[in-house]
Symmetry: C3
Subunit: 350 residues, 3 copies
Amino acid sequence: MLISEIRDYLGQFFGSVELHGSSDGVISGPGKIETAQPGQVTFVSNEKYLRFLDGTEASLVIVGQGVDVEAYLGRTSFIRVGDPYTAFMLLLQKFYKPRTIAGPGIAATAVIGRDVRLGIGVSIGEYAVVGDGCSIGDNSVIGPHSVLLHDVAVGSGTVINAHVTCYDGTVIGSRVIIHSGSVIGADGFGFAPQEDGSYLKIPQLGIVEIGDDTEIGANTTIDRATMGSTVIGKGVKIDNLVQVAHNCRIGDHTVIAAQAGISGSVILGKCCMIGGQVGFAGHLELADRIQVAAKSGLSKSFPDAGIVLRGTPAQPMREQLKQEALVRSLGSMKERLEKLEVVLSLMKQD
Amino acid sequence: MLISEIRDYLGQFFGSVELHGSSDGVISGPGKIETAQPGQVTFVSNEKYLRFLDGTEASLVIVGQGVDVEAYLGRTSFIRVGDPYTAFMLLLQKFYKPRTIAGPGIAATAVIGRDVRLGIGVSIGEYAVVGDGCSIGDNSVIGPHSVLLHDVAVGSGTVINAHVTCYDGTVIGSRVIIHSGSVIGADGFGFAPQEDGSYLKIPQLGIVEIGDDTEIGANTTIDRATMGSTVIGKGVKIDNLVQVAHNCRIGDHTVIAAQAGISGSVILGKCCMIGGQVGFAGHLELADRIQVAAKSGLSKSFPDAGIVLRGTPAQPMREQLKQEALVRSLGSMKERLEKLEVVLSLMKQD
Amino acid sequence: MLISEIRDYLGQFFGSVELHGSSDGVISGPGKIETAQPGQVTFVSNEKYLRFLDGTEASLVIVGQGVDVEAYLGRTSFIRVGDPYTAFMLLLQKFYKPRTIAGPGIAATAVIGRDVRLGIGVSIGEYAVVGDGCSIGDNSVIGPHSVLLHDVAVGSGTVINAHVTCYDGTVIGSRVIIHSGSVIGADGFGFAPQEDGSYLKIPQLGIVEIGDDTEIGANTTIDRATMGSTVIGKGVKIDNLVQVAHNCRIGDHTVIAAQAGISGSVILGKCCMIGGQVGFAGHLELADRIQVAAKSGLSKSFPDAGIVLRGTPAQPMREQLKQEALVRSLGSMKERLEKLEVVLSLMKQD
């Protein structure tokens, strides 16, 4: 791809795209500014990476306003746009060589049940099992070794990677990506304690519904509802090894980082950001746009949208940071206390 | 199912079952009291849900003693029993439409090794692999794509869902349920440090034994013992994404919530309840009926049965709550300290 | 195996191997000192296990210097070496009956893509899928149901257990062990927030590289880099359910315990030891030989090699223990504060 072609491509997205330096170099791929090779394009978005400009071997660097590029023009070309980060992401999409998860059509080794409806352009990989009564929308891909039990509905343009399991009745939207090893719709963890100390299994009659444009990482588990649906909203992004328990409702465009655990019947608002290894007690509710710092443990609901939480038990960031500072000041508090005791005992002796 | 049939069904379990209202409505399924539709049955067990009685569209509500139903009798019928929660769980079992994990018999695509003993009524799903020397008891189900390496023994009435892996030698009891993606019997994490900084793998010669009536969630890992067995007792309930390391022994009817991590050689008593994301240091021992609050980190053994633990490092609930309250009071302690300092400095000036 | 043969075998590794007692007993396997049966060999390395010497039924016990064995010589034989722990590990290797993951050669049900290079002695299990352009080195084993997407390179002597997924482009060294359910090379969790609250997927163009002699546990996830490689060094040992995010670099011989989460772009030095359930914020860097206590949460980099960290946010062990002791002393601090207040108020009344 010529530098001039990159300029033209970015021109589709940005009002102003300035090229400084040669326009006829060939760019073969992207690189990080620290390690980019000749022939690669990189970018600087964060000021702390400006120091690498001097040594980079990249042939093209995407920069923002206010970066002085004059000194480097001899060996490197520059494209200046309003948002170099997004520009670079758009370039990555251009260079991305799509993965082949399954060949076109239905692999000879796939097992397709009765009453299965398949859309146009569906790919089903080697050894995939699609149970009775499933429907798969146009252009969706079912990876090798994935298992859809009976009555699973998948929208169009969805990619289910290898080794995914969808239990019976799961409903998956369009343009969803599910990574390998994830298990959708296993039984919720519900048991009624009996007098002899044993447990009676509570049947889990519900299903899981996953909204359009959602991405689910590897080895994540989302349990079916006891009744009704566990609901993952639209555009939700869930990382690897996340647990979403039965009856949860995750609002649209909420992001959940790796190893977080969402206990049963928790309701998360829209556009929340949940950090890695965060845990929730059951039945809590978070308003929209709440951010929870990694490793926090939530023990109550928070109805105010847009706040930032941290700690175990989690509280608004300001209070939590104040409390952490107080804990760090404990040593000096103890010293001051000892000093007061000494002063007082001396005074009493007077 | 007619309301009168539900009354008769519950009469098998409860001494007193009172029907208030019409007995001839048809009930098609269960629902939550907030969202139940006409034709559905729901229940009220917790007082805080009584407020939904007024607006519910359910045709039948299971209630306990002391709930005044007179006002609603026109449109809704009621069944009154001693324990409406358990009554509803029993009804759920009645309405539960069993999932088909594998068709009857052995799928044509399943691979069965040499010297495999299969009981009566065993189902083995598509592409399942059952290694040499395995035995599977009557009426057990091996889900599609599950892999049993050699010499695995499975009891009767056990359900192994899709995509489960059992390493060689695993012993699984009867009426056990294992959910998709779980890995039973992988090597324990044992390495002997060498002088050059590298590690020598310690062979893991043992196995995993899983007791009767146990349920294991999705994507959980239970490692084989170095020698002897990692033992999961009878009636144990383990949630998703739980780690049980080598040489652990989990007592009967103990419950372990999602993402908890049980380190090597930990011994848990009977009827313990371990919260989500709890972690254990290795070689600890808990007595029977101990409860551990979610996210706690245990660094020592607790020999007293029935206590409740919380915090990191975990301590008995009362001490932990006291300590947490003290931490929350740090701000006021600091103010009081400052006030004392001021008073004292003024006194000294006198 | 005769006791005399065990003596001779250990003589290959230790300068001094003393046999006390009979040399002609037959040893059939290893056992723990508490539960060993006649015909088994066990060991005592830690002093606190010496108390079991009196009651053990083992026929042979490996001991170190300074253990007085005279009293037990009638019924038990002893071998004395400098390092009884390592001696016993070496014996375990001798008794270890290797697991059969896949039969010799390529299973009839395996699907091998185009342009695949297979070394000598490769085993590929039932239903394994090896995509186009993969290469597998001599004597490596691909377990049943494992899926290698296209262009995966595996070294020699490597064992990939059942149900492993390697995404396209993954590079795996020699003598690596990967346990079941692990997912190598899924997309990193990268999304660019858009003005309407939705997210744009950032293409993940990179791969995962896994060094020689590494072992990776069950259901662990290692994400591919956005650009370049996520790198797992040589001799690294990773436990079950661990998350390694995109762009991480894990130094040689570093050990990571179960359920730890390594966020994006974290760099760990060599020979670090990361405890279970530890979490890292993104982009942190740890020097060599740093140890992190279980459940800690790291929020900053630590450039000093060899230190021990603990807590959330993690700090050097000494400071953290001091802080924890101060928190535990809060009750007495409060009492002292109250006492001072009383004394002062009395003084003022004077």
